[in-house]
Symmetry: D2
Subunit: 287 residues, 4 copies
Amino acid sequence: MTKIGFIGLGIMGGPMAANLVQAGFEVTGYNRSAAKVDKLVEAGGRGAGSVAEAVADADVVITMLPDSPDVEAVVLGEDGVLAHAGDGTLLIDCSTIRPDVSREIAGRIRALDAPVSGGEQGAIEGTLSIMVGGAAADFAAARAVLDAVGSTVVHVGAAGAGQTVKAANQLIVAGTIELVAESLVFLEAHDVDTEAAIKVLAGGLAGNRILDRKAAAMIRREFTPGFRVELHDKDLGIVQAAAREAGVVIPLGAVVSQLMASLKAQGHGRLDHGALIELVARLSGRE
Amino acid sequence: MTKIGFIGLGIMGGPMAANLVQAGFEVTGYNRSAAKVDKLVEAGGRGAGSVAEAVADADVVITMLPDSPDVEAVVLGEDGVLAHAGDGTLLIDCSTIRPDVSREIAGRIRALDAPVSGGEQGAIEGTLSIMVGGAAADFAAARAVLDAVGSTVVHVGAAGAGQTVKAANQLIVAGTIELVAESLVFLEAHDVDTEAAIKVLAGGLAGNRILDRKAAAMIRREFTPGFRVELHDKDLGIVQAAAREAGVVIPLGAVVSQLMASLKAQGHGRLDHGALIELVARLSGRE
Amino acid sequence: MTKIGFIGLGIMGGPMAANLVQAGFEVTGYNRSAAKVDKLVEAGGRGAGSVAEAVADADVVITMLPDSPDVEAVVLGEDGVLAHAGDGTLLIDCSTIRPDVSREIAGRIRALDAPVSGGEQGAIEGTLSIMVGGAAADFAAARAVLDAVGSTVVHVGAAGAGQTVKAANQLIVAGTIELVAESLVFLEAHDVDTEAAIKVLAGGLAGNRILDRKAAAMIRREFTPGFRVELHDKDLGIVQAAAREAGVVIPLGAVVSQLMASLKAQGHGRLDHGALIELVARLSGRE
Amino acid sequence: MTKIGFIGLGIMGGPMAANLVQAGFEVTGYNRSAAKVDKLVEAGGRGAGSVAEAVADADVVITMLPDSPDVEAVVLGEDGVLAHAGDGTLLIDCSTIRPDVSREIAGRIRALDAPVSGGEQGAIEGTLSIMVGGAAADFAAARAVLDAVGSTVVHVGAAGAGQTVKAANQLIVAGTIELVAESLVFLEAHDVDTEAAIKVLAGGLAGNRILDRKAAAMIRREFTPGFRVELHDKDLGIVQAAAREAGVVIPLGAVVSQLMASLKAQGHGRLDHGALIELVARLSGRE
């Protein structure tokens, strides 16, 4: 049976680890705050007091951490995965980080970058979309593990490719929220029934997941996350850097990045990213 | 049985009129080029030699015309619908035009504005999305007719509201195509497998109808319309004017309007609007 | 001696008419509010009770009015210039209006479009920049009159060309204010001495008239007009329409138009256009 | 007499060092390619075979290098300024680099950041604008040296402030070139006499250094540098990173950065930055 070391048992990592236990894997988890580890133990996993302990016997190590420096520290740092995992251990990094960091890690240890989309709900339900970069053989080896946490699992290219696709994902999501926000404020200003409008917009070529899942809350100006503005702002920083590096021009990406950064600068970093509608309404003198 | 006069038997109007015949309505059609009229007659409708003849006995008149001046001429002009239709005739204008023109017409004649989304395919299949503005009683009276050509038929508000929602629809569609274009060029530049990427993007919060229906052709750089750049450019002109009139700020709308206008200015007005990917690729030095 | 009929004795027109009197012209002025006419009489001009009276004996008629519809009414309307001026009278329209309206007027009456730049101060000092469209012979005939109110008087092309250059002027001015606003907020956020920075920026390739004349007030957040946001917003509407008509792509123009429209939508239409710095500061969470 | 060690004798550094010799300073210069050193010797300076040799006896060390990593290597590297300069030596770094790198250097060695504006011509004539960050006492000590190479020398704040003001300078310059480019293409499309238009635009509130010095070449589509697109693109990267770090929203800055990046991506990195007019013309279908 595959033994999994799982580092990072937060909002996403916690339920993912639980789903792996549920699927029959032997999961040893580590998290900086011990309370999260206890929760995994309750769910049938094992607890570890350090990264070293979590990865010592593991066939597969999964990391689910906030940002690039966290992954670098946990994987490449003194007491990290590279130092303590056995030869041939496969690292699956599910964090959303810079593609160049994923490539660097893949040069040092057998690894896949496997960022996810689908939010807390997708993590709990095990229905995440997972975009995977790395060697085809490693993807094949990881398949059973990934299928236990996601329902759309796709190999998209070499090391770093998963992060690149995740960056594209975050560009489309931010842009679509902003397009829906502009449209809803436009319709409100023209006294159109926005609830009815959402229905008919969702039925045609304008249809998208934001209209399906977020537009109703945006109309009510409810911004409980969900996905926070400050995280999306971080991700758009990755998008811009990666576009710049490759000489790709992204006019809408550049503008929506300014708007997301503005929300954060105005102190709304902890709201759901649907709060872009607040910004459009304010710019239009409608508050 | 409801008698329908149908003006404008082009790419969209032709199959819509045929579907109405199929549904059992008595349809008398008129079009400037007689060949289109002959096609309706073959499908079981009647032909008329003028607007006057088409609308003389009609209970309902449907217009499906290219732009605001066309609708003004056909409805309000000397030999037009207003002059020749009987009292109580209901006009259903399915054209995409300026909301203020729809409101003006509704002040002169009993009318609904009922622009559609779904393209030639939706017109043929009778699965159009139809966004309807006007009086609730008139919407109720028109329901059976509209159900014969569309599968999502929604009353969104007073006269002009249908056009306003259609404007929002065109804003979201143009913006989404551009977001997908920026993402695909970004992925191509990073040597990611774009076919695989589309699959995983479509499965998460980034999912939208453009990824489902247009992205594959955009990757192959196939731009047979579909919906032409020059028409989308016209519609974005309506969006900008209506946003300006209402004091609504649409940053992404403004930028994507520039890009669509650029495609047209460069002589690509007759391509499908998916050609935005060509523009992004060229701006990124990738051709 | 040249007899001048002057219509529109507001903030700009009043001092221009006074300068013409000063230069020895016989000026008969008309304005809707009689108080402005009295002021011209005090300055040595004559007062008229109607457009007809003002233009009856005039060799040259000057109009200085707020917007396109005003000019159309005063020039082409029932009791307007066209109806009452003698044959061969030369109209010099100094208003900032749509180029197509200027061209239409020039098709009906001997006319120059001659919009000005330089503000109230330039009008008082007689140092306006004047951009003139129309026939070269008419420009030559008008030269002495124009030199009495402006110090930079340039013939830029056929009818409408003056308005087109004025549109370009308004695009550059709005864009430059916004660039200076972004730079100042950027410097404030980095705790740089902005007064010192203005000095050094003005000395190099970044030097411009906004740094010279407006940046100090922008730093102090003083927005007494000057030139009002709502008028600049109107002018940017002309810019966008004229760019669209000619298929010219203006990415910065499109974005700064959104920002100026936002200021107006937020109720700041009567502030000086330097208030763009307030908007940038607010977007950056610095208020 | 003040002894100066000068590192980096390129297009800018060469004439600056020559002006210092002219002003009576004892200048020892070093450059990777020896030919540049020979040129300084011809002008009356001394040549050095290494950084160490150039700075050994110096009271003041001036660096004029392409980018942040170059400055880090030359100043902080193994055989660099820090390792070989005497105690109390004052470093004046005239390179345009990241503000955070300037601050880091100022934490290790007595230093001023003193980027310049004015181009090759300004360097030759000794009329550069110099924006200086660092301690007031150090600025006072450096004053005589800086006055020998520049005509506008301003202390703008603490360490890094010079770079921050230079970043703002580059933002305004890029934006102004683009505004002039959009205006010129707009005027060309409307058949206006652009040479005449430049004159009248330069006389009013739209007046700026780009209209004075670059617009004529832009009209002729002459793009011999001057200042290269690829360097301006690098500088706009600094602007964006510094704005992001401080939470400052720069909508025009973001868009013009995309356009400059596009020029570079299309292979025009070695043209003068006035080539933005080519991009606007191409986007407008006018080539």
